[in-house]
């Protein structure tokens, strides 16, 4: 079976700064992949590369052209209009006629329990509600791949739980109309979240992949130490 993403010696440089270096990676359908690492390790750049927002400056980044993608950012951008229009706009940009888009948007808002806020200006919603709105926007697009860049970093514990629940539903396919699991790739500093949501963990350091393991093995200190001399220190530090 062909992978959804196939990176071969992919590198991204911004002038003298090497954000990603020599990354070899294959991600298949239905996986739930967590990208972990310190700030500036290249997690966001890798997500942007996979999503097509960034081109590799060297190497190759191939992705399944038929796979629909959606991405959530740490601080989702909402246009100065209603919550419903924000979701409808995403659909309209992908070719759905405006009226149909507005109807689908309402269903998406119901999905994340924001239907009662449909007419509210999106920017007046709380951080957690805006992230759920971004989830609704993603759900409306019915993606095959959902990417999230530290989606709960600036949220309170309650909002964090709500977003995590939606992520889990995405990964299980419960959020898709056809029930097919969605490939979820997310960057996170929260190792508890990684344990709860990921099936595979990729540890990055200075733009290089230092460890790429199934989640159980990643949290096995001996196994992790055997793969990377620094990854276990990161895990230890983050867990303190």
């Amino acid at each position: 079976m062909n992978p959804l993403f196939d990176l071969q010696a992919a590198s991204v440089s911004f002038g003298p700064v090497h954000a990603l270096a020599d990354v070899n990676l294959r991600i298949g359908s239905g996986e739930s992949v967590a990208l972990v690492g310190a700030n500036g390790s290249g997690k966001s750049t890798l997500l942007r590369l996979l999503h097509g927002l960034q081109r590799p400056t060297a190497g190759q980044c191939a992705c399944d052209a038929g796979a629909r993608q959606a991405m959530l950012f740490q601080r989702p951008f909402m246009l100065r209009t209603s919550a419903r229009n924000n979701v409808a706009l995403a659909l309209w940009l992908r070719g759905t006629p405006w009226q149909a888009a507005k109807e689908q948007a309402l269903r998406a808002l119901e999905r994340v329990e924001l239907a009662d806020k449909a007419r509210r200006p999106a920017r007046t919603l709380s951080g957690g509600q805006q992230q759920r709105l971004a989830m609704a926007r993603a759900w409306a697009l019915q993606p095959d791949v959902l990417m999230l860049d530290e989606p709960t970093a600036s949220l309170d514990p309650h909002a964090k739980r709500e977003v995590e629940q939606l992520m889990a539903e995405f990964a299980s396919g419960a959020q898709r109309q056809d029930g097919r699991p969605v490939t979820v790739i997310f960057a996170s500093h929260n190792l508890g979240q990684v344990k709860r949501l990921a099936t595979r963990v990729i540890y990055l350091e200075q733009g290089r992949v230092q460890a790429d393991l199934p989640v159980q093995e990643f949290f096995d200190v001996e196994r992790l130490r055997a793969v990377s001399s620094t990854a276990h220190l990161f895990v230890k530090g983050e867990q303190v």
Binding site: R48, R80, L89, R94
Partner: protein
């Protein structure tokens, strides 16, 4: 000082008595500048939005040229439009010279760099912050520019204000292409210049006060719109903060 106070008193009398000559000049001025502004701001908005998001070879040269045009003297614009519209010029067949249209064209050309440059700056800042998310949603360059322009509509009111201020306060261009013909192409600024040179200070001062008043009213309106938006959004944010605190 006594000349000033006497002139001011006469000027106020002219304003409060709704002097027909004065009103005609004010009406013409507003019509010319508003039309020029509508045209230039419409074009400047589209052009500026595109420049704010598009990346192409030679963009820096275009931006340098645009910034240079910001400082172009209005008499130079007047001269260029005069040459274009004069009988032997490429647009001479239109017969616009010393007409309303010539003044509108001159002011529109004068304002276009202002509206384009200000829009470009606002949109470029928004693009740096939010452009990637719009790209992620599938918005191409042109659509991204327009969406960001729409999203920044309240910030762009400043552009509108600056453009109108530039148009209504300039004198050189309309003097050259309009000819300051009494009852036909005489506007506030050209009338002020003429009446001052003739020594009719009350009329000049009355026009000056009205000019100031028009800009003041416009500015106040824009400030009101902005405050209203801040109030609405701030209130709603406050409501959600209270709701969160109570939850």
């Amino acid at each position: 000082m006594s000349t000033f106070t006497e002139s001011a008193a006469t000027a106020l009398q002219l304003i409060t008595s709704f002097d027909p000559g004065l009103l005609a000049i004010v009406g013409r001025s507003l019509a010319v500048s508003a039309t020029a502004c509508a045209l230039a701001c419409g074009a400047g908005l589209v052009l500026g939005a595109w420049l704010g998001v598009a990346r192409f070879a030679g963009r820096n040269a275009v931006l340098t040229l645009l910034n240079t045009l910001l400082a172009i003297p209005s008499v130079v614009i007047g001269l260029v439009v005069y040459l274009l519209l004069s009988r032997s010029g490429p647009l001479g067949h239109l017969g616009w010279l010393f007409n309303f249209q010539a003044m509108v064209l001159a002011q529109a050309l004068l304002v276009l760099p202002v509206s384009t440059a200000l829009t470009r700056q606002v949109i470029e800042d928004a693009e740096q912050t939010h452009g990637e998310q719009l790209r992620s949603l599938g918005a191409g360059t042109a659509l991204r520019g327009l969406l960001l322009a729409w999203d920044e509509r309240y910030a762009l009111l400043t552009m509108l204000m600056a453009s109108f201020g530039r148009a209504i306060s300039e004198v050189g261009a309309v003097m050259i292409v309009g000819g300051n013909i009494d009852g036909f192409t005489r506007v506030m600024t050209t009338a002020i210049a003429l009446e001052t040179s003739k020594g009719d200070l009350p009329l000049a001062l009355a026009l000056g006060l009205i000019l100031l008043g028009v800009v003041l009213v416009l500015n106040a309106l824009i400030a009101l719109v902005r405050r209203w938006r801040e109030h609405v959004e701030g209130h709603a944010n406050g409501v959600s903060a209270v709701a969160r605190a109570l939850a």
